[in-house]
Amino acid sequence: MDALAPRVERAQTGDRAAFGDLHARFARPVFLTLVGLLRTREDAEDAWQVTFLAAWRHLPRLRRPERFPAWLFRIARNAAKDVAQRRRRVPSALPDPTDLVAHPPGAPTDGLPALVAGLRPETRALVMLRAVEGWTAEDVAAAFSWSAATVRRRYARALDLLRTRLDGRNPP
């Protein structure tokens, strides 16, 4: 998260190119977080668009530019909450083909996605950023407003859980 603040400050004054840089940097992490929280492509993309539009509109009101990641991910999580409340899906026994967590396109059928889908939404989002996007514990901590120790502990627990369940499914 180096030298974010100058770019955020430029974007606050209406510099679209600077905001484009920020978008390029955070578009995928935010999308993966929203997938972790909402699971379906449709919902994640809705919340993703809302997040960046809201961030652009309200960026001048951000008082501490160095806290941009925390601020952006807070918007994303609120957007996810709004989308989830609006949808209010009826639970179904049938598999949802648009569920990107349980049925990621092109993924091997080794049972791992089903186990990830069974994690809590915030843990799924954490796994997406740490394992898939390769963010450090400090980066995730800054984005989620947690401590780095909390991120490490929750991530380790999530991996342990997945490993235990995988071993249960595929005994040696």
Binding site: Q12, W56, R61, G106, A107, V116, V127, A131, R163
Partner: protein, 328 residues
Amino acid sequence: MTHDLEARLRATYGPLAADSTLTDDLARALDDATQAPPPRTASRILPWAVACAATLVGAFLLLRRPGPSGTIERPAHDGPAATAFVDARGRTTLAGVDGRALRTWELGVLPVGYAIPAEMGEVLAAEVAPFGPPTDAARLPALPDVPFLGRLFRGASPVALIVDAAADAPWRHVETVLLAAVHARMAEIVFLDPTRAGPPITERLPFDAPLGVGEDVVRSYERLEFPALHVQLRPDASGAPTVAIVRPTGRAEFSVRDPLALTELGFEIAASVPADGGLVVEIEVAPRGADRADLVTFAEVLAVQRAVHAAGVERVHFRAGAGRSGAK
């Protein structure tokens, strides 16, 4: 193992990305969207300014120390001789009888959180009256303790306290309120007759002496230059309250419930008053070591108090009984 699992997760979810057409849509939407104006300096400062102003106003109200507001003629009606009332602005006034005039003391607007003194006359009655029967010791903790009440009174900066207690309220409870008044450095205590048949009794506290709660109360009385006559109230073996004048030469006992005996008590005290009239009578309820102290009621102490004043003694002080001067 961990790296293996992380690699599998990366392989499974790595290809996920937002649809490229969606990115284009977002870019177009961003082009059309305008940014909100930055917050004005005033909107940042305003909440702090309001908070500072509220603090200053609160401090001003707390630091204001209203004094006596003068003397007015006693109204012609036969209403209560002394009372406390709250006007529409939340200003509390204590009123007490002083000779033929009704003296009033404005207590000022009370800060939020000190609602009890705002209704002082009534609340004291409520605090003192409902406790009983006298031996119901289990209820005692419900009575606020001396430091608590003292702080409560001091918050209102009152100059006098009106004690409106039920006739059968244990004196121990009334005493708690009196000690709190001393704690709050009030100048006067006005006792209302629970039967409303007699005039209120006003006692002036020795403001010139260092006052406090507990032993200091007793010591401050002992520093007075006037000779003091020590009077004890305690229940006898049958539970009936007995008043005794305690002198180095011996004790003289009288029954409190017998009007004739109280008259004799008055004569006995009158005989002790020196020529210059300077005599203090110390009334002590349940002296050290006595039990069943709760059997002595407010009405019985008030009867002795009247007898003392009728004998020409102007100053009566209440001496705290053992172990009852502090918090209960």
